[in-house]
């Protein structure tokens, strides 16, 4: 870390910076660097808490500005090989993109609404059609939003950009989603690798082409044990339940008056089968929760280590225990928040009830109760979301950069600028379809 700080352009004169860079270059092999995050938690807390209050007051309209502020903060405070990133997007662009997305989506929604009224074949399949089409749209939006964010990311005066077809990506990702589901998650590593390869193959930093070298098989071999622990018992339980139950008898029994009695007399194994299924489900849920941070660390490490831009390469050293620490911290903060919220609401509600007792207008009392209830619910939810954003999301961002080692950075002296800024439509569509992320 200290070597990197020396590389960073912090000294107060150009000469000093050059000297520092030279000494650092002598200490570490050429073209090797790290990344770090210099933003303070306090500043992010301030940004997020203020944002939550404004979200509440504007019923969500402020989200475009909050998202932009968040990204500006995260990008600007992330130094890669000594130089901070820059986010050049504006809230206005996303807002316009959102309005265009609405203009595109409304006729589609209206079309489905009318189709659903129709009693013919179209009406009957319109629900399924709408589901598939919206899922496709969602994936399309994810890809286009990625393009927006990349073209708004500037590093050392050169922007990132993305080519490729968003429709093709949407088609592939739905296909892989279906295959992953059918294979009970076994194909997940190959799905991730394939989609990531598509994305990175079409990603560029200036004229330096990106690519993804992570192998699905590698991830499968690493994660196989986790899959067995989480999914194995569930599949076994499911298999046992399916074999143990006489399905014809069960179908007969469901129509009758005494369902349980019929089932028990027809297939004596039904009790144990049901019990094993419930136990397996319980085990899988618990195991999934316990091992999720380990899984997340593993996939993140695999993903980051597979990223390449020209000759530049990344290698992640992210550890599972760092991920666990992050979630424990969230749980701690959440408990403290619950305690504080409990104490405050006791006082506020106590006071409110005392005041309302004196009021004899039923409508006012009722309105106060309804609005008070909704506001406290929203404050609680926004509070947890803010805590999650700061304790988990921000830390995750920081961790993923700070655990990475970069090589082949000599190329940074000669990457040529290329690519143009894309429209905010993808970002707006992602927002309208609720598939947006950071």
């Amino acid at each position: 870390m200290s070597a990197l700080e020396a590389v960073g352009p912090s000294p107060s004169s150009a000469d000093a910076a050059r000297v520092a860079a030279d000494t650092a270059a002598a200490a570490i092999p050429p073209g090797v660097g790290t990344a770090r995050f210099v933003g303070s938690d306090k500043a992010y807390w301030r940004l997020m808490v203020r944002g939550a209050v404004l979200l509440l007051c504007t019923l969500g309209i402020y989200r475009f500005w909050l998202a932009t502020d968040q990204r500006r903060f995260l990008w600007a405070n992330t130094e890669v090989a000594g130089d901070p990133l820059e986010y050049t997007g504006t809230a206005r662009e996303i807002l316009v993109g959102f309005l265009i997305a609405i203009a595109v989506l409304v006729p589609i929604y209206v079309g489905f609404f009318i189709a659903a009224m129709d009693l013919g074949t179209i009406g009957r399949i319109s629900g399924l059609l709408a589901f598939v089409l919206l899922a496709l749209f969602g994936k399309f939006a994810v890809y286009r939003a990625r393009r927006y964010r990349l073209t708004r990311t500037v590093f050392r005066g050169v922007r990132l950009h993305q080519s490729g077809s968003a429709w093709l990506y949407a088609f592939y990702s739905l296909l892989w989603l279906a295959l992953t589901f059918i294979s009970a998650g076994l194909l997940y590593p190959w799905a991730q690798a394939s989609l990531e390869r598509y994305k990175m193959r079409h990603t560029f930093y200036g004229d330096a082409p990106g690519r993804f070298v992570g192998s699905g098989t590698r991830l499968f071999l690493k994660g196989g044990t986790l899959w067995l622990v989480v999914m194995g018992p569930l599949l076994l339980g499911l298999g046992y339940a399916i074999r143990g139950v006489d399905w014809n008898a069960l179908a007969d029994a469901i129509g009758s008056d005494n369902v349980i009695g019929q089932i028990e007399s027809a297939s004596p194994n039904f009790g144990p089968a049901l019990a094993s299924l419930v136990a397996a489900l319980l085990w899988s849920t618990l195991a999934a929760a316990v091992f999720y941070p380990a899984f997340q660390a593993m996939t993140l490490r695999w993903w980051a280590s597979g990223l390449r831009f020209g000759t530049m390469a990344a290698k992640s050293r992210l550890r599972a225990r760092q991920m666990y620490r992050l979630y424990f911290r969230f749980v701690g903060y959440a408990l403290v928040f619950a305690l504080i919220a409990g104490v405050i609401s006791t006082f506020v509600f106590g006071f409110a009830f005392a005041v309302l007792k004196a009021v004899d207008n039923a409508t006012i009392v009722e309105l106060t109760q309804v609005i008070g209830g909704i506001i406290s619910y929203v404050v609680l939810m926004l509070g947890y979301s803010t805590i999650y954003q700061v304790t988990v999301k921000l830390r995750l961002w920081r961790l993923s950069f700070e655990t990475v080692e970069l090589t082949g950075l000599q190329e940074l002296e000669r990457v040529r600028a290329a690519g143009v800024a894309s429209s905010g439509f993808g970002e707006g569509l992602a927002d309208a379809l609720d598939v947006g992320g950071l």
């Binding site: 352009p9 019923l59 969500g60 820059e86 986010y87 009693l119 200036g206 619910y377």
Partner: protein
């Protein structure tokens, strides 16, 4: 932006420059002239000159001033960590906003406009959506309404039918019920003739205990067995049916579908896309929808009173059956009730002129038969 004498004197300092053509990093010295800023490379040669008026202040970490050039197709960047030099540039260039004053002012404007937008959307929800629905409803073709009614009807029937045992769902088919059905048909025919609706009415009594009745799009009306049991005269049953015919005449189901769609769009898409926002959206939708619906019920009451008077029935009969039903219903939250407060409805009904000629709508035998319409299980 206050700058003391010492910093205003600074005319040069170190910086890092990216020319926007390649990602190469240049350690440069920045010289401040009265109207432009000069960027010189390590050997003293001029790399670029930027007028202060063109400077763009870009997002950067704490302790760094990052500048770009406005209207420049290249993403050339000048980064300055020297706080004294940064302060001097801030003083010279109006667009540089190191204290964030300009940013804060524009943000306050954004928040103010957003609040205005929320207010305007709420006003549209309260006044605009019902007005638009009123205007649009007459243009929905009867064929569409009928088709929609069929779809809803299938749903309603399966809901009413589930978990119920003994007898067909619709009363009046069994041998002992036929007389009751005939009496009901006579009653409905008189109401229909007086109402002169553009679509035929299909009325059915269903074997369900609650004292209730409702109309679906396309002229279907359901009356529950519980209501027939509660009624003490043919006029009371007729009054309830007349009220439902009011909904049919006003095309209230179609209107409410348009209103619900409008509200979903307004609150679901434009607003509320944040954690916990779903609750706000649902609550405001429920409040607005029930307030529309209370208005609709008031109009249906008025229509029903007029209709019952037209066929020579007792306009106050609706009030009598409402009072009887209300006693058995649980008091709920007034704001979330889709029907107006019974006291308000009763007051409006009492205000109607009383019956003029007291000819009973059904003969005593017919009335007795109607009361037995659901007994032949």
């Amino acid at each position: 932006m206050s700058v003391d004498y010492k910093t205003a004197m600074v005319t040069s300092g170190p910086g890092i420059f990216f020319d926007g053509l390649t990602s190469a990093r240049h350690h440069v010295s920045v010289e401040l002239e009265p109207a432009t800023l000069l960027v010189r490379g390590a050997e003293g040669h001029l790399l670029t000159r930027w007028p202060y008026a063109d400077l763009e202040h870009l997002s950067a970490p704490d302790g760094m001033l990052r500048l770009g050039r406005r209207g420049n197709a290249l993403l050339a960047r000048l980064e300055i960590r020297d706080s004294v030099l940064a302060a001097a540039i801030d003083e010279l260039a109006a667009t540089v906003d190191r204290t964030g004053t300009i940013e804060r002012r524009s943000r306050t404007r954004v928040v103010a406009w957003s609040l205005a937008a929320v207010l305007s959307l709420i006003l549209v929800g309260v006044f605009g959506v019902p007005a638009i629905a009123d205007r649009l409803t007459p243009y929905v073709p009867a064929a569409v309404e009928r088709k929609f009614g069929e779809a809803v009807d299938a749903q309603v029937r399966s809901t009413l039918d589930s978990g119920r045992s003994g007898g067909a769902l619709v009363c009046g088919a069994a041998e002992t019920e036929k007389e009751g059905r005939a009496a009901l048909n006579r009653l409905v025919a008189r109401l229909e003739a007086a109402a002169a609706l553009s679509i035929p009415i299909e009325l059915a009594v269903v074997r369900q205990p609650p004292a209730n009745a409702f109309a679906l799009p396309g002229g279907r009306v359901y009356v529950f067995e519980g209501l027939i049991n509660k009624a003490q005269s043919a006029d009371e049953v007729a009054a309830v049916i007349a009220h439902e015919l009011g909904h049919v005449a006003h095309r209230d189901s179609t209107r409410s579908v348009i209103q619900a769609a409008g509200l979903s769009f307004l609150f679901g898409m434009v607003l509320g896309d944040f954690v916990g926002g779903g609750a706000v959206v649902m609550a405001s939708k429920a409040l607005l929808q029930t307030s529309y619906s209370r208005e609709v019920e008031r109009r249906a009451d008025a229509y029903g009173i007029e209709l019952i008077a037209k066929i020579g029935g007792d306009p106050h009969a609706l009030g009598e059956i409402l009072t009887r039903i209300d006693g058995s219903n649980h008091p709920g939250m007034k704001l979330l009730l889709d029907h107006p407060d019974t006291q308000d409805r009763l007051a409006a009904i009492k205000a109607a002129p009383p019956a003029t000629g007291a000819i009973p709508l059904l003969s005593p035998t017919e009335w007795a038969a109607l009361k037995r319409i659901c007994t032949g299980r």
